[in-house]
Symmetry: C2
Subunit: 157 residues, 2 copies
């Protein structure tokens, strides 16, 4: 269970400027630049994928941080719009860094837990626009997850 296929790594030099940028934004909301914050952002950026709260506090780079610290940071980041919360399959508490042009929908294997990206963004954008224009909803985002059995598990079974 709980393997992650996709982990799209961001090059070191890019990563630094992205993090500085995010921290600069956060400082305007009164947050301070602390070690824990940097570690968290670094971790979420390096492996740019959805994390469960519980696993975040155990990922290398954060394993020595108190869970409460990680939870509190994540909540602030969420309020600030820096991370988004998503539901994948049966769990509702995944968090992922919000990067421009990096919104993705997911495909989960029920057997092995693999998470794969599926870009269907464009289709749903038009639905969001319609909901907004015709029904008056605002600030729309979406969470989409497909669940199924992956080719590997089909082969094994």
């Amino acid at each position: 269970m709980s393997e992650h296929s996709h982990d799209c790594h961001i090059p070191e030099e890019e990563s630094e400027s992205i993090i500085d940028n995010i921290i600069e934004r956060l400082r305007k909301t009164g947050m301070r630049k602390t070690e824990a914050l940097e570690e968290l952002l670094q971790t979420m950026l390096t492996h740019h994928r959805p994390f469960l709260l519980t696993e975040l506090a155990e990922v290398p780079g954060l394993e020595d941080r108190d869970q409460a610290t990680v939870y509190r940071l994540i909540m602030k980041l969420k309020d600030a719009g820096v991370v988004r919360q998503l539901s994948l399959g049966e769990k509702g508490n995944y968090f992922q860094l919000n990067l421009a042009n990096h919104h993705h929908d997911y495909l989960l294997c029920r057997e092995c837990g693999t998470v794969t990206e599926v870009p269907v963004e464009c289709i749903l954008k038009s639905v969001e626009e319609k909901l907004s224009a015709q029904h008056g909803w605002k600030h729309l985002t979406h969470s989409l997850a497909f669940q199924g059995t992956c080719p590997d598990c089909l082969a094994t079974a």
Copy 2:
């Protein structure tokens, strides 16, 4: 929080035959026709909407049942395919009765928790078929939830 706009009520006479039908299917798997089972199915059918486990055990009709009983039943119903589990926005543990021609996607208000149906089924069906045909995944389903601010909450704020 946690209002539900949509509650599509099923007429009494239809409801009985649907429930009998489901119970008949369940009995083939070794389950027995008990009061608790009937109450649960009746409740989930009467208000045909996604329920959180925690709220199910408090809904009129089930409020005197032990949570453990409701949880155990739901799990069996899920294994039997009678209910499906879905992720709506930030929660991953909603359960809803699987009725033919009743699969829907949802729109949630972040402010008041209202759940509204959005039929975008047809769009995603084609994506599922593509994932299956081109990438070898099987048994595909999906959970789609839009999150936003509903017109009412926009007006209040």
